[in-house]
């Protein structure tokens, strides 16, 4: 796995995701998204040092990818309507983003190449004093106060993004419950060493999914739940 790509070269999670898909010469679909989920999360791991504002957008996409991956590994997993919407919404957004990126090549080729120049402003101006009755001192102060209040603030993260990111662990734990209900496996054991680190929780979860996929095959043969944990320990947690 390559870690040489600098974080700065991606303008956002969709940019990264699209790049991963295109590198594998895949088309945008739930199948290709499931395939690049691990890669995506490996990249997101590098952004852990970024402020909440910037990493939140990546985590949000990671959570949707997690759903897609879970569904692809465990087709019997039933997704809620909201989860389905998140998945198809991500595909749509990626397709639109891709189309825009393609179009932007054409824009880049035109930009500044054959400029239509306007008329220069003549340097000589003979002003005619023409005040506007609307302009008063009160108006000036009002407009400036309004302007000052509207000055952009640093990193304003929309509330819904914060809410979704914060509920990421909840989502994973619900997913775990749903998947392991018949396997009696505790996800907590899997993740306790990564407490408080969202990306590592995702990584652990993915690892568990992989193991479970293998585990399920065993289950179907022996239907002895206890042995699964033994089996997974032998296989070991994949090292990311």
């Amino acid at each position: 796995m390559s870690f040489t790509i600098k974080t700065q070269s991606f303008e956002g999670p969709l940019d990264l995701l699209l790049d991963l898909i295109e590198k594998r010469k895949l088309f945008i679909s739930d199948i290709s998204l499931a395939k690049v989920t691990d890669d995506f999360i490996m990249h997101v791991k590098q952004f852990e040092h970024l402020p909440m504002g910037e990493s939140a957008h990546f985590i949000l996409i990671a959570s949707t990818l997690l759903l897609i991956k879970s569904k692809s590994l465990l087709p019997e997993l039933a997704l809620s309507e909201e989860e389905q919407t998140d998945i198809s919404d991500l595909e749509t957004r990626l397709k639109i983003f891709k189309r825009i990126k393609e179009a932007s090549i054409g824009i880049q080729n035109l930009f500044g190449k054959q400029i239509i120049f306007g008329r220069s402003q003549s340097r000589i101006i003979s002003p005619v004093f023409a005040p506007s009755p609307e302009f008063t001192l009160e108006k000036a102060l009002f407009l400036l106060t309004d302007l000052i209040n509207r000055f952009p603030k640093q990193e304003t993260l929309p509330k819904h993004v914060v809410r979704k990111v914060i509920s990421l662990e909840e989502m994973i734990s619900t997913l775990t419950t749903r998947i392991t209900s018949h396997l009696k496996m505790s996800f907590k054991e899997f993740t306790k060493e990564h407490k408080g680190n969202r990306v590592n929780v995702i990584v652990s979860f993915l690892a568990m999914l992989e193991l479970m996929k293998k585990g399920i095959l065993e289950v179907s043969q022996e239907t002895h739940f206890g042995e699964i944990q033994m089996e997974t320990k032998e296989v070991g947690v994949p090292r990311y």
């Binding site: 303008e11 956002g12 999670p13 969709l14 940019d15 088309f27 945008i28 679909s29 199948i31 290709s32 504002g53 910037e54 957008h57 996409i61 198809s88 749509t92 957004r93 397709k95 639109i96 983003f97 891709k98 189309r99 825009i100 990126k101 179009a103 932007s104 054409g106 824009i107 880049q108 035109l110 930009f111 500044g112 190449k113 054959q114 400029i115 239509i116 120049f117 306007g118 008329r119 220069s120 402003q121 003549s122 952009p152 990193e155 304003t156 993260l157």
Partner: protein
């Protein structure tokens, strides 16, 4: 002047006023000044556009505004004595955002953020300051804005109206069908394989 039997056609009047104004002018203002309705004005603009073909000056137009500029073929000549204030490199984020505004504008910041997957607040502000993008009040929500390409941006791309952008109609219809969940592009056909 109005009584003059040898009165010049409306296209000539438009040309004279735009020449004098030397900057973008709203079509609304122009039609008020000339005392004609919107469709006569648009007709006059078309006549002027034809009259200017092959000439040294050309017409640049958005839905709302119009201005006169030099012919794009002569950019090299004009550059010899005029400085170009806008050509500073756009960067990846700027180019992406500009393309969204060009192909999808007028568009809200929320929608731009949604397409890019990141916060576009500062990059949009940068484009506004450079005069490449303009904002207008959002008719469906007066507390927010919609962003659209400026006349200067079109002029800078050497196109005289937005429809002249490469694959303009195609890109728009592709994006519309993505939004509707219909995928008629190769993307859709191949992904099913």
């Amino acid at each position: 002047m109005e009584q003059n039997p040898t009165d010049l056609p409306i296209s000539a009047k438009i040309e004279a006023v735009l020449f004098c104004k030397a900057e973008p002018m709203s079509k609304k203002k122009l039609s008020t000044l000339l005392g004609v309705d919107e469709s006569s004005l648009q007709h006059g603009l078309e006549t002027l556009r034809e009259a200017l073909s092959g000439r040294g000056i050309s017409l640049v137009e958005t839905n709302e505004d119009v201005m006169l500029g030099t012919a794009k073929e002569l950019a090299g000549l004009i550059e010899q004595f005029t400085k170009d204030e806008l050509s500073e490199n756009l960067g990846k984020a700027g180019l992406e955002t500009l393309s969204i505004v060009l192909y999808q504008g007028p568009i809200s910041r929320t929608d731009i953020d949604h397409i890019r997957g990141v916060n576009s607040q500062f990059i949009l502000r940068n484009l506004l300051v450079r005069g490449l993008v303009e904002r207008i009040e959002n008719p469906s929500d007066t507390r927010s804005f919609l962003y659209k390409p400026s006349l200067d941006l079109l002029a800078h791309l050497g196109i005289s109206k937005i429809e002249d952008l490469p694959s303009f109609a195609q890109v728009r219809s592709d994006i519309d069908s993505f939004k509707k969940g219909i995928d008629n592009t190769n993307e859709g056909k191949n992904s099913k394989n």
